[in-house]
Amino acid sequence: ELKVEQNPLFLSMQEGKNYTIYCNYSTTSDRLYWYRQDPGKSLESLFVLLSNGAVKQEGRLMASLDTKARLSTLHITAAVHDLSATYFCAVAGNMLTFGGGTRLMVKP
């Protein structure tokens, strides 16, 4: 059974700081996704990572994948308040298996 674990579960940061969210998974997969969810809203796709060493960047967010370590990271650079949301990683088979989410709060 595929298990996906994220940490931390909750992250409170000051604006301008950097931080990394970690996503570990238990079995091999050829795709890993990162989604963002705002309170009361659905999930917005941020990144899809397809191969070992893949790195994708969008604005202040950068995601990477190490398939050998079964680890993906989501790095936040110089956080701003608008990044406050819950971030999920999801590992793909026929369906997606999600981590428990990281609730990010960026304080002014």
Binding site: V4, D30, R31, Y33, Y35, K41, S42, L43, E44, S45, V48, L50, F88, A90, A92, N94, M95, L96, T97, F98, G99, G100, G101
Partner: protein, 116 residues
């Protein structure tokens, strides 16, 4: 439409009642997925359709849950004899061809089900 739509957005029902939740996928998407998200948790897979057929229903928790997609587009998730533990947000997603290397699932806004 431009995205995945779900109706109703909220549903309040009493224990023991029957409910139906509807999902309209993105036009042309052959794959459709249902997930359930409890408060403070990540979505959990329920069932996956490829076209009209259920390709994987291993996530359905018990036989009170059933889903159909008779024409390969709209899908309905049906829950019989609802229980309080069924309360959650039910999310629908669709993807272009279900599992291709670059296939991304696009999620609808969800239906919040509350069983009293």
């Amino acid at each position: 439409g431009a995205g995945v739509s779900q109706t109703p957005s909220n549903k309040v029902t009493e224990k023991g009642k029957y409910v139906e939740l509807r999902c309209d996928p993105i036009s042309g998407h052959t794959a459709l997925y249902w997930y359930r998200q409890s408060l403070g948790q990540g979505p959990e897979f329920l069932i996956y359709f490829q076209g009209t057929g259920a390709a994987d229903d291993s996530g359905l928790p018990n036989d009170r849950f059933f889903a159909v997609r008779p024409e390969g587009s709209v899908s309905t998730l049906k829950i019989q004899r609802t229980e309080r533990g069924d309360s959650a947000v039910y999310l629908c997603a669709s993807s272009l061809n279900g599992g291709g290397v670059t296939d991304t699932q696009y999620f609808g806004p969800g239906t919040r089900l509350t069983v009293l």
